[in-house]
Symmetry: C2
């Protein structure tokens, strides 16, 4: 059974139809979700035209030692062949899905939500709304993005676009090389900004938003670790997230199109992703 505002594939047709009427839709060869096929056919007929002249890469380079939420090493590279011996280069990776710049699928924090491969590509290319809380976060790493931040953004830019991703720019994407990136204290607690639970609630109940994105390692503020109210509520509602995003400073507050090129892996709860903005 789904919670209020659920976007699970089996019960989202009506909601999706609303989005499509609003003109934000693409045709898609993805997904293979029988339930939404008629909606996709509709999308093909009514799809809006989108244009861009600049691509911005919002992806950190992943490497062994990339900071992780838990402090454990989550990415390892081995070199079973070498150029010198084999005249070919080919590496083996071992990784936890939620490492580097990555996406969270609904399945990450729900019993049977969608895995990455089940999310139609049309739901991963969406209008991007960037909410800047850099000043407050610089003064307090435990700051959160509140409903008031959303309303202030809307007072400047109008209502959040239908089907958008709301991204928090806390300035943390520039701290990757600093201990501040995880903000781990002597008690093992992380001090990093994130979305306030009331904001997730507002966006689920009163807006039409597909994704949340952060430039930290967690949608929740670091101090909410263990409880994870935003993870459970947001992903549990069938929506997706992006974590450890880079390059947010050079984007407009509104007007860009976000491309969440997540790993199309069967059953994946998330995974390293190439995140782009078309501006």
């Amino acid at each position: 059974m789904c919670p209020p505002g659920c976007l699970h594939a089996v019960c989202e047709t009506a909601t999706r139809r609303g989005l499509l009427k609003a003109g934000f839709a693409f045709a898609s060869a993805a997904a293979g979700l029988g339930a939404i096929a008629p909606v996709q056919a509709h999308a093909q007929a009514t799809a809006a035209r989108h244009s861009f002249s600049r691509v911005q890469d919002l992806t950190h380079t992943l490497f062994e030692g990339f900071p992780t939420f838990s402090g454990e090493k989550w990415f390892t590279v081995e070199k079973p062949v070498t150029w010198e011996k084999d005249k070919v280069n080919l590496h083996r990776w071992t990784l936890m899905e939620h490492t580097g710049t990555h996406m969270d699928a609904p399945l990450h924090f729900s019993k049977d939500g969608m895995s990455v491969d089940m999310i139609p590509i049309t739901d991963l290319i969406v209008p991007l709304a960037v909410i800047d809380i850099r000043e407050r976060a610089a003064a307090d790493p435990d700051a959160s993005l509140t409903p008031d931040d959303v309303k202030a953004w809307e007072s400047r830019n109008g209502p959040l676009p239908e089907g958008a991703c709301v991204a928090m720019n806390s300035g943390w994407h520039k701290l990757l090389d600093s201990p501040k990136f995880t903000g781990r204290d002597a008690d093992g607690r992380n001090h990093t900004p994130g979305f306030h639970a009331e904001t997730a609630d507002l966006l689920i109940r009163e807006r039409n938003v597909k994704g949340l994105a952060v430039d930290t390692l967690s949608l929740d503020p670091g101090l909410a670790s263990g409880e994870f109210p935003v993870h459970y509520q947001w992903l549990g509602s069938g929506r997706w997230g992006v974590e450890a995003m880079a390059g947010l400073d050079d984007l407009p507050e509104t007007g860009a199109l976000l491309v969440v090129a997540g790993p199309k892996v069967r059953g994946a709860t998330g995974g390293p992703s190439r995140i782009l903005a078309l501006v």
Copy 2:
């Protein structure tokens, strides 16, 4: 030292400038390649505007048991935590970089070519030319895409777009569930279509092409395994490839924009990628 037509970052400035003059350019926050920074700045000023109304996912879903070039298992998923016990889902992957729908970076078949993370994102979003050899490949799995196929395409569509990716549609993307996908015979040789070495030579010397893409597991025809003339020549020239692409039948011969959302992993020779067409 670089071969003729080399596109290595350190010696490509002149070539890139030519592409930019031709109007196909984006600004980029990627790469960090000092040598081309002035060219990127130029791109920001002159970038052409691109538009699309449809997104096509050209990515197969990756799973344990996805066919591989060598026949070995190249992708494994473990579940160190479970919803029942931990109330979170999170998997660990072990994979060889060249599994599933994936890209080949120059480093894969060269001593010191660019790794995936070194390729500017502007070089991974390019015009897509689809060359259809399905009929010939259906009759002969050892068929190859020849210079004549390129010329026939150009006689219908005009010159290959500057900076394009040339994709072979052999029909193999529909054979994933069939033994034909690898075409492995009793002697361990693969029978699959690919680019003829003379085609790679033509495209390097007489056209301005950034990438090759195939719907099989190798840029080279299966019977060229071991020799890999296209891999060595093409990747060795600093260009990239995409292998095991899906969904090619629903694309126009020309006019789409290819997005090669490769894994931004330091030093990667390639890796599973989300491949999209903007139409």
